[in-house]
Amino acid sequence: MIATSVSHYPKVGNGPGRQRLRQAIAQLDKGAIDRAALDRVADEVTAEVIQEQERAGLDLVTDGQIRWQDPVTYIAGRLEGFELHGLLRWFETNTYYRQPVATGPITWKEPILVRDFLYAREHASSPVKAVLTGPYTIGTLSETRHHQSRRDFVLELAGALNQELKALAEEGPAWIQIDEPAMARNPSVRYPRDFELFGEAMYRLTEGVNQQSRLSLYIYHGDVADYPQVADLPFALIGLDLVQGAANWDLVGSWPDSKAIGLGAVDARNVRLEDPDEVARRIAAVAAREIHVSPSCGLEFLPRETAFQKLELVARAAHAVEART
């Protein structure tokens, strides 16, 4: 049983010296420091949050997406064909993303996450997973002024990100994770969900990617209990949100033995700390062959100190179950 985080991690903390990144960005805005100086601070904070995840007891970490402004901009902003427009709400949270607008064909021009992955691996003692937001979510949260249909748009995005996956796979991360929250059923947002298009996009995305790295798909901010075919998609592991998407427990009960599962079993959006024994009890009942345990989604919705406690809880529960089996 592997304890892991999902995607982002708080960029600043509340003690002295824990707001360096926030201060550096403010200084950059005032022209007091240059971009290179900011990048150095972002690197330092990245190393810090990697170590923090390891200290919490995780077996598999992310780079915390410290350099990301939001889950969409960092990827879409570096593909050819997008402009970045106004702020929109990220699902029903109190956080925002900048909406990409496609004004031409979407193409991949250069590696987006490779450098970040290499930096993270260099500063981690545990394996690092590379995480990127998937084409279906970017397509759903963006607008296009160029494509004939949503289908054309999403599939073109999938093709562009397929090249990113291939570039990442060259470096051989243990895991490459695709995040597709827009595929979750969430009564508050009601983004149009298109199962057929989603499946097609996932095949296009993963086509021909070097299988040295294992691929995973995480869907959070809701459930996919009405979409059991998710288990058949071309990924080694599917990660499910079991807090906001509590209906996912139905899927977990009938999970195919051949497929690994990610259990987002600890609430990443509220500060209340679950009882680790209760979490352990629930995940111990899952029969799947290979299990990753994590918070329900990225942790940037929480203050840094609570995020750390949530990861400790995940690790403690996962390792307690592991020790028993």
């Binding site: 708080p10 600043v12 702020l87 925002y96 993303y97 508050s188 509220n270």
Partner: protein, 327 residues
């Protein structure tokens, strides 16, 4: 006055920009460089200036501008027992805020806004609106480390907001606004909003209002009318057209606060633009049903921008009114 002349009353949604001296003083207070009394004195001065301005231009129902409040949720959280403030959480870019957190049984140890309301009302003959943040919004914008269910947290907050609303009414408030901007994010929880608002407004004789920011309200219309308030205040300047069209098939049965200027832009709308927005309302609504105001709180604008927008609203209203009387 005939019905037409009485209608189209003007007001504000609630917050107004704080003058520079007050922003400066609040920063000083945060660093403990001045006392709370010194800060309160400056908050009173700013309140007085805004009340005088609204009177001068002829606003019908005035607001105190919330000079003494910071964030609309944190302000109440700081004054309630069983609520605290968490560490920093990022909202976007380099913006962080301290999110409130329910830590225990929520109680209101003392009235929160009543003295400020009394002070504002003492400065004017015009009615001053009592301004509260609704239980659903306080809950949705807070962490819950105590109740364990959204409904329980919302209903506990409804009880303390009810107490505050009753105290404001007792002090003489004729208009009570209970803001629920979080509703638009989660229209699937409209039932909970209705249930909690019923607790807040039951037994009140004052004219009750709820303000909500832009959402796809057309999807929950006419269920929206079941929120137990006398008036629903909506952003209608740059949106709301689809909702308005629904009023044709199912009449809007309450009073409406009809936002006619955008609060997110520095640009000052022309009087003609605002008149067009007001006339749009009159295609579906009677003048006495309609209260004219900005789309939302003006606190993110500069003092000059906010004043210019309020003046424009007033002039547009006056012109539409006299055109109605002539017609």
């Amino acid at each position: 006055m005939n019905e037409t002349a009485q209608g189209l009353r003007t007001t504000s949604v609630g917050s107004l920009p704080k003058p520079d001296y007050l922003l400066h003083a609040r920063a000083q207070r945060a660093r403990n460089e001045i006392s709370q009394e010194e800060l309160d004195e400056l908050s009173r001065r700013a309140t007085q200036e805004w009340i005088r301005f609204q009177e001068e231009i002829g606003v019908d129902i005035v607001v105190d501008g919330e000079m003494y409040r910071g964030d609309m949720v944190a302000y109440f959280a700081e004054n309630l027992e069983g609520m605290g403030i968490s560490g920093l959480v990022r909202s976007y870019g380099n913006r962080y805020y301290k999110k409130p957190i329910a830590t225990g049984d929520i109680r209101r140890p003392a009235p929160i806004t009543v003295d400020w309301w009394k002070f504002a009302q003492s400065l004017t003959e015009k009615p001053v609106k009592g301004m509260l943040t609704g239980p659903y919004t306080i809950a949705d914008w807070s962490f819950d480390n105590h109740y364990g269910s959204r409904r329980d947290l919302v209903m506990a907050l409804a009880e303390v907001v009810r107490q505050e609303a009753q105290d404001l009414e007792q002090a003489g408030a004729e208009y009570l606004q209970i803001d629920e901007p979080a509703v638009s994010t989660r229209l699937d929880e409209l039932d909970l909003v209705i249930e909690s608002m019923a607790v807040v407004t039951s037994g009140l004789r004052a004219h009750t209002i709820t303000h909500m920011c832009y959402g796809r309200f057309e999807e929950v219309y006419p269920r929206l009318l079941d929120i137990p308030v006398d008036q629903i205040d909506l952003e209608m300047a740059n949106s709301g057209l689809e909702l308005l069209e629904k009023f044709g098939a199912h009449p809007f049965t309450k009073a409406i606060g009809f936002g006619v200027v955008d609060v997110h832009t520095h640009k000052i709308e022309s009087v003609d633009e605002v008149k067009k927005n007001i006339r749009r309302a009159l295609d579906y609504l009677r003048p006495d049903q309609v209260f004219i105001d900005p789309d939302c709180g003006l606190k993110t604008r500069t003092v000059d921008e906010a004043k210019a927008k309020l003046r424009t609203i007033q002039q547009a209203r006056d012109e539409v009114r006299s055109e109605l009387v002539r017609a």
